[in-house]
């Protein structure tokens, strides 16, 4: 066995090698690095003895010690890498987690179906440059009836039996159409609005009727607006909402505040238009519409010789029922969370 510094270096080399190889984790290796190479480590201790050596030996031993230092460093690094690779290989067993279930999903709140359908309607019309206009729910007779060509004792009032409130002959609006008048009175053409909101009629409650329901009104007034523009708008709207494969049917209709008046139906999504229990001969009525009556334009302060317009009105609850397959209107105002959480 070699004596002196050289011998000590030799012994350290062997023992260091063996200790590094037998280390089983990162922490042990970290410890070895400190105890072998640290400021108070074994190699440093040996190096301190170099001062007592003859100059010639000193250089050789110094070189030897530096080499050992590099070797030890390399062995630790290699061993570290080996251990890491082994740990990675074993991860599938050591850290196995069953991902086939969700223990406590974060519950989200659910938005009301009337909100969701209105959102879709707004998004479709905002692409066409419409803005949203709102009007009061407590209306006066002028805006709700007279300005829309529905004078006292007009038969159309039969279908719009209204709730009156105690003040000033005010009533709960029976449709969103009064917003047409209000908007025309306060804005000049071009006008391009939709007006959503609650409306009220003294109707008995059943699966498809209630005394409070929701509509969305549309109004466009500009130079040279034609029925073909209304037809195109309805098609764009209905097919955006229900799907491009749906067909649209326009039929004659009657409303006091439009002339000509039309009704629009979309082909049934259940039977594809053949006719089934959910539809009327393959069609689902979705809205009433027409060219704004010249007198209604005048009532809104717009000259019917210079401008023309179209208007439409759809039941938001009906659209929601059709789109989301809701079969009872009453569910909308009941707020049973078992219903709300389906949306």
């Amino acid at each position: 066995m070699t004596q002196g510094v050289a011998g000590e270096l030799e012994r350290l080399r062997a023992s260091a090698r063996e200790r590094i190889e037998s280390a089983t984790d990162q922490k042990a290796l970290e410890g070895l690095r400190v105890s072998l190479l640290g400021k108070k480590g074994e190699l440093t201790t040996i190096l301190r003895q170099l001062g007592g050596l003859p100059a010639a030996d000193r250089a050789a031993a110094g070189a030897e010690a530096n080499q050992l230092k590099d070797e030890i460093f390399q062995w630790i690094t290699d061993r570290m890498g080996g251990l890491e690779a082994k740990r990675h290989t074993a991860l599938g067993d050591t850290e196995w987690v069953d991902l086939t279930f969700v223990p406590n999903p974060v519950r989200r709140g659910h938005l009301h179906p009337l909100t969701l359908i209105l959102r879709e309607v707004k998004a479709i019309f905002s692409r066409l440059g419409y803005e949203v206009a709102l009007g009061p729910q407590v209306e006066d007779e002028f805006h709700n009836f007279e300005a829309l060509n529905i004078p006292q004792d007009h038969p159309a009032r039969d279908t719009m039996d209204s709730f009156y409130v105690e003040a000033d002959d005010l009533l709960l609006r029976t449709h969103t159409s009064p917003v047409q008048i209000r908007f025309m009175q306060s804005h000049k053409p071009p006008i391009r609005i939709i007006a959503p909101g609650a409306v009220y009629r003294r109707d008995a409650t059943d699966p498809s009727h209630g005394s409070q329901f929701y509509q969305v009104e549309g109004l466009v007034v500009d130079h040279d607006i034609r029925l073909s523009d209304l037809k195109g708008t309805i098609e764009y709207f209905a097919r955006s909402l229900f799907g491009p494969e749906r067909r649209i049917r326009i039929v004659g209709d009657h409303f006091p505040f439009t002339e000509p008046s039309i009704g629009a139906a979309v082909s049934c999504g259940i039977c594809g238009g053949i006719g089934c229990r959910s539809c009327k001969g393959g069609w689902l009525e979705i809205l009433g519409a027409g060219m704004v009556h010249p007198q209604v334009l005048r009532n809104g302060g717009i000259d019917p010789e210079r401008y023309s317009g179209f208007a439409f009105g759809a039941g938001l609850d009906r659209l929601a029922m059709l789109k989301y397959n809701v079969t009872d209107l009453r569910l909308f105002l009941e707020n049973d969370v078992r219903f709300l959480r389906q949306f």
């Binding site: 407590v138 006292q152 004792d153 409130v165 609650a198 523009d229 326009i250």
Partner: protein, 795 residues
């Protein structure tokens, strides 16, 4: 409106099948809701003549009828006793079929019966089950009954309210003629007007009656109407009664003009007086009810008493009966408003009133009377002696000008002027062409056309809306602030859904007395009442969203869905001196805490506060402050329904804009909601700063900040907001941010004591703060808190 296809074919030769006809009518604005095959369902039933009748030996119920179908007589046993020798009756021969029933020769008490004689109900031709159906005496024995009663197809149409002229077969025939370009055969109206006899009819109230045509016919015989007329009436849903009554109904279903027949001998004074009823005047009506009338009601009277409620229902006294010999036929045109008011007042809508309410043309009445008189002469004999046509202000036909450009400007499709003229003429408009212009006079039976657009509609719906192209309005779009409010609404909804609240929509109509007074404090105290509610518990408009949400929590708890958390964004209605009713948008939150008592409720309340603060942060409104609600000692006042120790007002710039708190246990008990509940309600526009502010970036700090914690031990009901105020005051400008870390109250502290922990963030823009500097400020804060609250402070 029920339309018989057989009847319709009398006026127009329809070649299309029923579904096509229905489709085209619907497209043109006359919606066909249903196509029904009439329930006439038999085979092998023929006309037989009764030759003899004798009792069935051994039976008191049945008799034997000898009948012939042209050849030798056969014997049939029947249980009916309304037969007479010579009657024509429906005879189901052996081997024939009635619905699912096969008719064979059967033996009764040893006597074979070759088939059977049928009642109307057995044939599906009427409701009469009591006797054998007696056919028209002119029917030929042996004739197949189908020849007399062809199987009919019934169209059920929904006629728009502006077209009462279409509530009849002739009206629909004209539509069919226009749509399919077929000629229409109008019934021949005899022009045999005898001289007017103004003394028969007098109109004393011309404001209620536009025209009254009466015609006196004497020497008639009341009898059943012939089978063809009965069949048509039945097909249209009207029960046959007698020839006279059936004729009035028939003419109405043909021409649209309601009619009435009076027994002339029952009319005192032999005159008809059209007048307003006297207040309190009584009228026994045809439906068996006696009605007290008012001066609003129009009546048809004799010289003494009301004999009919004008345009609605006839009187019982002067009704046509079996013995009636002299009648007055009435066809009048009543003022729609008056009819509407009377029908509403008496809660009585009839076939006649619903037509008059829509406004019939006075032009219909005279032809109707003449048509009916001709039918009376044909079916019940008699002599039409006098007629009276009182028509104070005759209609003046309007002329409307139209040109091809206008049609195209409205419809967006070019319709050649010749085609437009043809459509209008098919619809019975009188059209004069002057080059590219049309001068158009609407038909006298229509009152709904007065402007060019009305004509364009006629052209459009008959030409076909399917021939109108689909375009979108031009590219010029108004530029305004799009969806400003929607952004705030939608942002709020997203935040709330993210905080695990479900969106509710509750009814605006609530009970005035039964609704708990809980609301945000700024809500109007009085509710807006509905004058004509449909239900007692829906007789007012909501002033707060909270009662509806609490009701929904209770409903869900009953459905085994305890712990529901809901929000609603909607209008509330506040009585106001300025606008009568204000409709601010409110946002309300409500959470049910079914278990866990007071502590769980606190946690939920804190969560609600955090939700409100998070949402305002989302609107870029920096800090949301709350103020402890100051309950008046006796009466909770505006805080009614809230927990006196757990309620705070939501502040915006120091001003209350809403409330957050726990619901008072007494109110929960009243609602039947177990456990506890916490709620919040705010004015949404204020809360969202009218749609949210725009965030503004600030330069990032160049020098590091210093964090220090501070725990304050206080006693009694000292609000954290006050503690924070002192910290801020003493902190000076280097104290940039304070957040509350925790609150503790419990066994580790003496009773009534509470510790609040804050984290303070110090920073300066121009230098790195030294520890000494920060320590000095901390000490100043500690001293300040000590002086103000006697608080012990650890830092």
């Amino acid at each position: 409106m029920l339309i018989s296809l057989n009847w319709l074919k009398e006026y127009v030769d329809i070649t299309a099948d029923a579904p096509t006809l229905a489709e085209r009518l619907t497209l043109a604005g006359n919606e066909v809701e249903r196509i029904a095959q009439q329930e006439v369902d038999f085979d092998g039933v023929v006309v037989a003549e009764v030759k003899s009748l004798r009792p069935l030996p051994g039976s008191t119920k049945n008799q034997i009828a000898g009948v012939t179908t042209g050849g030798a007589a056969v014997e049939v046993v029947t249980g009916a006793w309304n037969l007479a020798v010579g009657d024509r009756v429906p005879y189901a021969t052996p081997g024939s079929r009635l619905g699912d029933r096969r008719i064979e020769t059967k033996t009764f008490l040893g006597v074979p019966s070759a088939g059977m004689l049928c009642s109307a109900i057995e044939l599906g031709l009427g409701e009469d089950a009591a006797g054998i159906m007696i056919l028209d005496p002119g029917a030929t024995p042996g004739q197949d009954l189908h020849a007399l009663y062809p199987r009919d197809t019934i169209l059920e149409l929904e006629i728009k309210s502006n077209r009462p002229d279409l509530l009849c077969h002739l009206g629909i025939a004209r539509e069919v003629g226009a749509i399919f370009n077929l000629s229409v055969r109008e019934p021949k109206i005899p022009k045999t007007r005898s001289s007017d006899a103004p003394d028969l009819v007098r109109i004393d109230a011309p404001d209620g009656c536009r025209r009254f045509v009466g015609r006196l016919i004497t020497g008639i015989t009341v009898a059943p109407s012939p089978p063809w007329m009965q069949a048509r009436l039945r097909a249209a849903g009207v029960r046959p009664i007698s020839n006279i009554v059936d004729i009035t109904n028939y003419v109405m279903l043909e021409s649209g003009q309601p009619m009435h027949a009076f027994d002339y001998r029952r009319l005192t004074g032999g005159r008809i007086v059209v007048r307003r009823a006297r207040d309190g005047e009584e009228l026994a009506c045809l439906d068996g009810k006696t009605r007290r009338l008012t001066a609003h009601d129009m009546v048809v009277a004799d010289t003494e008493r009301a004999q009919g409620l004008a345009g609605i229902i006839g009187g019982a006294e002067s009704a046509v009966q079996a013995a009636t010999t002299d009648i007055v036929l009435e066809a009048a045109t009543w003022e729609p408003r008056s009819i509407r008011r009377t029908a509403r007042m008496h809660g009585l809508r009839t076939e006649a009133s619903s037509r008059f309410e829509k406004g019939l043309s006075p032009a219909l009445s005279l032809p109707a009377v003449e048509r009916a008189a001709a039918l009376v002469a044909e079916l019940s004999g008699g002599t039409a002696t006098r007629a009276s046509d009182v028509y104070p202000v005759p209609l003046t036909p309007a002329t409307i000008e139209l040109d091809a450009d206008r049609i195209e400007r409205v419809l967006g499709v070019r319709v050649e002027i010749a085609d437009a003229a043809s459509i209008l003429e098919r619809l019975r408009f009188i059209v004069k062409r002057a080059g590219a212009r049309l001068q158009v006079q609407p038909p006298a039976f229509r009152l709904d056309c007065s402007i060019p657009e009305d004509l364009v509609e006629e052209i459009g719906r008959v030409h076909g809306y399917d021939r109108v192209p689909s375009t979108l309005p031009g590219a010029r779009t108004p530029v305004r602030d799009l969806f400003e409010r929607r952004d705030a609404d939608e942002t709020a909804r997203e935040v709330l859904a993210g905080r695990e609240l479900d969106e509710a929509v509750t009814s605006s109509l609530v009970s005035a007395d039964g609704t708990p007074p809980i609301a945000m404090p700024s809500a109007a105290q009085a509710v807006v009442k509905v004058k004509n509610p449909m239900a007692e518990n829906r007789d007012a408009l909501r002033r707060s969203l909270l009662p509806g949400l609490l009701e929904a929590l209770a409903l869900n708890a009953r459905q085994d869905q305890g712990g529901a958390r809901l929000f609603e964004l909607g209008s509330v209605f506040w009585k106001s001196a300025v606008n009568a009713v204000d409709e601010p948008q409110a946002l309300a939150l409500a959470a049910h805490v079914p278990a866990g008592g007071a502590d769980a409720a606190v946690a939920e309340l804190r969560s609600l506060q955090a939700t409100l603060a998070t949402m305002r942060d989302r609107f870029a409104i920096p800090a949301t402050a709350f103020k402890q609600a100051d309950f008046p000692s006796e009466n909770p006042g505006v805080f009614a329904g809230f927990h006196p120790g757990r309620t705070g007002e939501v502040l915006d710039d120091g001003e209350p804009i809403g409330i957050v708190g726990e619901v008072h246990p007494q109110l929960l008990a009243q609602l039947g909601l177990p456990g506890r509940a916490v709620v919040a309600e705010v004015l949404f526009d204020r809360f969202s700063a009218g749609g949210g502010r725009t965030p503004q970036a600030r330069p990032l700090a160049r020098f590091p900040g210093v964090r220090r914690d501070l725990t304050v031990l206080i006693r009694g009901k000292i609000a954290a907001s006050e503690v924070l105020q002192v910290i801020r005051q003493q902190g000076g400008y280097t104290l940039r941010d304070i957040s509350m870390v925790s609150e503790y109250q419990g066994p580790q502290l003496e009773a009534g004591a509470r510790s609040l922990s804050f984290r303070l963030h110090y920073q300066a823009d121009d230098r790195t703060l030294t520890n000494e500097e920060v320590a000095a400020v901390q000490q100043r804060i500690i001293d300040g808190l000590n002086a103000r609250f006697g608080a012990e402070v650890r830092s």
